[in-house]
């Protein structure tokens, strides 16, 4: 039982790593879609979010649709606030670090302001950050996954020996 728990812990940590990569890739997709909508369609944020939502899935789709809905309501809130609260609602439980979350959640404070170049530049900056994160993660993803799994099994064996 102890052996299995230790192994489970290791496998879970390894799965988390895989999930994190998936989430970062999804985030990247989200940024690229948003950039495309704004650059090629010259669309408003509402149209950009609704347009891109159709090509996303799960929590990201929910986030885009909620943000668009809040923009449409025009309840007198700054866009940064709308974006942050919708992001927190949908993306808080995704596998991002605290620093990454802050970067994503604060994007809304820099969108909608000034001209088209400014919007694209802001999205570009975030895209580059996420790209770096993915590259870093990819570097030793396989090794790390294997290491977590092995460590888990070893921990299980160690604990089992100690208890016995």
């Amino acid at each position: 039982m102890i052996l299995l728990s230790g192994a489970g812990l290791g496998f879970n940590k390894s799965r988390e790593l895989g999930n994190r990569k998936k989430h970062l890739e999804m985030l990247m997709r989200m940024i690229i879609l948003l950039k495309g909508e704004i650059r090629y369609g010259n669309t408003s944020l509402y149209d950009a979010f609704t347009g891109a939502a159709g090509k996303l899935e799960g929590k990201y789709r929910e986030f885009f649709l909620n943000t668009a809905e809040e923009i449409k309501k025009k309840k007198g809130k700054p866009f940064g606030e709308i974006f942050r609260s919708c992001a927190r609602e949908s993306l808080d439980d995704q596998n991002f670090t605290r620093e990454e979350k802050e970067k994503i959640f604060s994007l809304g404070e820099r969108l909608g302001y000034l001209g088209m170049d400014m919007q694209l530049r802001q999205l570009q900056l975030l895209e580059e950050d996420v790209e770096n994160e993915i590259q870093e993660l990819n570097k030793d993803l396989k090794e790390k996954k294997k290491m977590y799994q092995s460590l888990g099994i070893l921990l299980g064996i160690l604990l089992a020996v100690l208890v016995a």
Partner: protein, 321 residues
């Protein structure tokens, strides 16, 4: 089978839709004022000046309870612009260059500030210091009394509506389009193509007409009149082409294209009378060629939309008030 849709005067404005365009402070003032939006025509915001309304035929300004009149701040304007553009000022650069933004409901938000020029061409606007929200004004049925002069069972007249500014020519043209399109009395409805260069006729929001222009009407929004008229003739085969405010040389060339393609034309022009517009050589030529078969003259009176008379192609009176 033609359909006759009963004409009625309508002006339905959603209060929330208007209030939500404004910055928090102004939104609150409008809500507290408990206005009848059917009587509201304009809301003007100027930095450092009171908040003016054109309301119930007069002008008034709003103030906070127990205080002096409210003076609009630059922040109010900035915030208002954010809401008007849906937090997307960058997507409205072309509209701002033209000086106005059309919003949901067919209302129009005019802006003024410092114009940025590049080799004499307007590139944009900064330091926006005035916003004027003009509420859509649609008076269905206002063309009832003149329809019989421009449309019979088998005939539609090339028509020019002549009127000084703010006397209702666009409102009248809009209702003529609607009635021609839907079918008037026992006449068949016609396909109408509208070139709405300044989004005033249809009041399109995201390409969808917010004003009722009838069920057989195709609208080219924000398109220059001269090009738009030719595009419509080529692509939409309209029975009637309608445009607002003919004026420049290119417009007249396009008018000739429309007429020679067998389409009918309903247009408007700025002027006090037929003689007034005949001072312009292009109108003089159109008159001498008897292109327009009806001239509808609107005049200044206590209220907009006063019909002075209807003239035929020779300038003879068909109807006089």
């Amino acid at each position: 089978m033609s359909t006759y849709i009963k004409c009625k005067e309508v002006r339905y404005i959603e209060a929330e839709q208007i209030e939500n365009l404004f910055a928090g402070n102004i939104r609150q003032l409008l809500m507290d004022a408990k206005l009848n939006y059917d009587k509201l025509y304009e809301i003007r915001l100027r930095v450092g000046r009171p908040l003016f309304l054109t309301y119930d035929g007069g002008e008034c300004f709003l103030k906070r309870p127990g205080q002096e009149q409210y003076l609009v701040t630059r922040e109010d304007l900035k915030e208002t612009l954010e809401y008007v553009t849906g937090y997307s000022l960058y997507a409205y650069e072309d509209e701002i260059r033209q000086g106005y933004i059309s919003v949901q409901g067919g209302h129009r938000v005019g802006v003024t500030g410092k114009v940025i020029l590049d080799r004499g061409r307007i590139m944009g606007m900064k330091y926006i210091s005035c916003i004027n929200v003009r509420l859509a004004h649609e008076v269905q049925g206002c063309a009832d009394s003149i329809m019989s002069y421009i449309r019979t069972q088998n005939w539609v007249a090339n028509t020019l509506i002549i009127s000084p500014p703010r006397c209702g020519k666009t409102t009248l043209l809009r209702d003529i389009i609607r009635q021609l399109s839907n079918g008037w009395a026992d006449t068949q409805g016609l396909t109408v193509g509208v070139v709405d260069e300044r989004s005033e006729l249809a009041g399109c929001y995201q390409g969808i007409p917010q004003n009722d222009l009838g069920m057989r009407t195709d609208v080219l929004d924000c398109c220059p009149k001269s090009e738009g008229m030719q595009m419509l003739v080529r692509s939409m085969s309209p029975d009637v082409v309608a445009v607002d405010e003919l004026g420049c040389e290119e417009d007249f060339k396009a008018v000739e294209t429309v007429i020679h393609c067998g389409c009918k034309l309903i247009a408007t022009a700025h002027g006090e009378s037929l003689e007034d517009i005949l001072d312009q050589p292009f109108f003089y030529r159109l008159m001498s060629e008897k292109i327009f078969e009806r001239y509808i003259i609107l005049g200044k009176n206590d209220q907009a939309g006063y019909l002075e008379g209807v003239l035929d192609e020779n300038g003879r009176i068909c109807l006089k008030q």
